[in-house]
Subunit: 474 residues, 2 copies
Amino acid sequence: MTDKELKTPELETPEPEMGEAENRVGFEVSVVGDIIAALDSENINAVREIVAPLHYSDAADLLEQLNAEQRRLLLEYAQDILDPEFLAEIDETVRDEVIEHIGLDNVAEALAELDTDDAVNVIEEMHEDEQQQVLEAIPEADRALIEQSLSYPEDSAGRLMQREVMTVPQFWTVGETIDFMRESAEQEEWAVPGLFYEIIVVDPKYFPVGRVPLSVLLSAKRPINITDIMSDEIKLVPATMDQEEVAHLFRRRDLVSASVVDEVGRLVGIITIDDVVDVIDEEAEEDIMRMGGVREDDLYSAAIDTTRSRFSWLFVNLITAIAASLVIGFFQASIEQIVALAVLMPIVASMGGNAGTQTLTVVVRALATKEITTANAMRQVGKESMVGAINGILFAALMGLVAWLWFDIPMLGAVIAMAMVINLVVAGLAGASIPLFLEKVGVDPAIASSVFLTTVTDVIGFMVFLGLGTWLLI
Amino acid sequence: MTDKELKTPELETPEPEMGEAENRVGFEVSVVGDIIAALDSENINAVREIVAPLHYSDAADLLEQLNAEQRRLLLEYAQDILDPEFLAEIDETVRDEVIEHIGLDNVAEALAELDTDDAVNVIEEMHEDEQQQVLEAIPEADRALIEQSLSYPEDSAGRLMQREVMTVPQFWTVGETIDFMRESAEQEEWAVPGLFYEIIVVDPKYFPVGRVPLSVLLSAKRPINITDIMSDEIKLVPATMDQEEVAHLFRRRDLVSASVVDEVGRLVGIITIDDVVDVIDEEAEEDIMRMGGVREDDLYSAAIDTTRSRFSWLFVNLITAIAASLVIGFFQASIEQIVALAVLMPIVASMGGNAGTQTLTVVVRALATKEITTANAMRQVGKESMVGAINGILFAALMGLVAWLWFDIPMLGAVIAMAMVINLVVAGLAGASIPLFLEKVGVDPAIASSVFLTTVTDVIGFMVFLGLGTWLLI
């Protein structure tokens, strides 16, 4: 029972560590600097001395920060003393490289030491033939659990859950439950989950009927029936539910755990809040990256992979930029007559783009967190158009004055002012409706919204400004 | 001990609910629609019937989705049957309005029913005079705990922590610990925390020396000494640590809890992973919003507040747009001669802006998650310049060809091609270095980076393209 998390013989300092210092960038840097120095001088002992006391997160971090050659050397010198959990922690792109270096047999050995959910995490990202090879090298009992988890769809609750759950039948008492836990821990024959926070009460068909937080169990007298202290407010999550839905459910209901059930409703596992934290992180990361037009694993990709993955986004943007240029092309004659139009036109387009992006950011995020529903969507579009109109009028006054003073043509000030109001209203309208529309037709608004938005604000911006200029000034 | 979380007499359906259906947008919409209909017809009973079974998160959501008048009516009709926890859950902007409607006395009454950390969450956002009034109306014991938490800096571990911790002295056995918990629960004189996952072992000075997860305690025999099963791998967090640091620590170390200590190292509270989830959410939200040039509470703000808060961001962008126009102004004579320059110039600037934003997104995010340190920063800048160069060459070839065919001037193709390469390299370089520089001088890269970046890519884009055009074509 007292597993490796609890007994830490390798810990050198007996007193507990303060969390702050080691989180400063300075700490990480000094280790990275030291290790690079040791690797450069091929000082195996120095490398091992630095690596030995590292927490697995730090080891993962260190490997991420080294370059490919340094990574290879570090693994060669100190692979055997790394806590196998670093494999679950390390960035995917770097992990592929690490797996190649240390070999599938060693990977299988390391994975057998991990919790099933961590092992699944590593294996699901591997190539199919590698998966097979690694699974074969893992001991039977562990392998069965891992394979069962892998049978659920990617990014589903089934992949996320812990298989080991402490369950008790409805007719037990508090005393019987505690005795059972003590015996199980002693025999260690039956798989007692290392750490858990609640017990699930199941009926004879293994359907969950309630849960007992351990703090409640511990505070109750031995003869009390388990059903008297259990809460029937139990959340059931189908094993096929998407992890994003699971995360949303946990946040919305302030859950710390939920029971995972199969298609007929039998308990198959449990998801706890700490599993969900990673999902929340991933989802936020995904949204941020997509809105910026990049893929999630961009940071650690080689330059050539990054270039390739960014090309397509830039290509789409080139098309929209050319579309905007075509609009300008219609007004070549006007520009030849009044060059000031060419000088000022990017201002109208750029202000529209920025105002639209503000709206877009709010709406895309609210869609992701489900704060916008069909009930309040129209109100949002209305509000954003209004905001666009007010700011449009303010900036119209400001920019109208600037243009007038700059080129000494009062009508030019009027033209840019009108164009500014129109483009900022359009920006608010488009910034709110484009993501709502994309969500409705099933396209991820985080990816596609900004391309459409810039097209709209550029095209409308140039068209209105140059059109009004042609009409009123020439 | 069996608190309201565990006994749920108001739950109508005895069988556990499946989590999926109610998370669909459809569910929320139908409730919102029903409630609006009931409010419109001033049917108090119908309103109360719909509100009564709502989870506090749903109640908070519902209030957020109504307009101000509907909100006022709902509170008038059904305020007394709302679970007070909705106050902690609701968006701040809406909360101010709600507090105004229901009155400070009722707020104080509601807050007394909440956990201290939730109550602190609500109170810390109120005006100082309101805070005083509400605190005075809260029962003495609760008030002391809340005031103590409020004495820690905003957004610190002290504000985040739960005050109630289960502690035991080092010389106790498992049996003594369990007996103590049972007695405490029975007498309910001493504040037993409602739900907790581990016990903290303290020395006579109340310094934490170890922790015992409840699952470990339950699996150990009664005569065993508590120190024999405790883990000394205990994370201590100073009460003044910033919540962002706390969240980073939890994620990095896969923690589920950490002990909070005062300046001398005495235990003052405990932070569990579920408290940290909200912080992680907030931080991601902040980053996304800041990169889009909006404030976090934008969605529920009134149109006029939103307009005001967005104005300053747009104003800064107007300045950079005018700067870019000034550059174009230098080349008015060239544009008069070759209007094609005006038609094509937005393409160069826009491609630079988009490529730079890709880089910026990756680097800003990596800084937020501390994946970029001084050790790998320069490598990142190098990689991004390289990516810019390769994509620059690809798009140069593409756009050079398009420009040539469009205007039938081969040299114009060459000019835009050269400008494209230069601007995309600059975009990569600037996209990576601007956030690194801002972080170094202590400015939040998420807020300020994109303004600087657009200025650079616009100014350089126009200058290089129009400059080369003037030199080679005229």
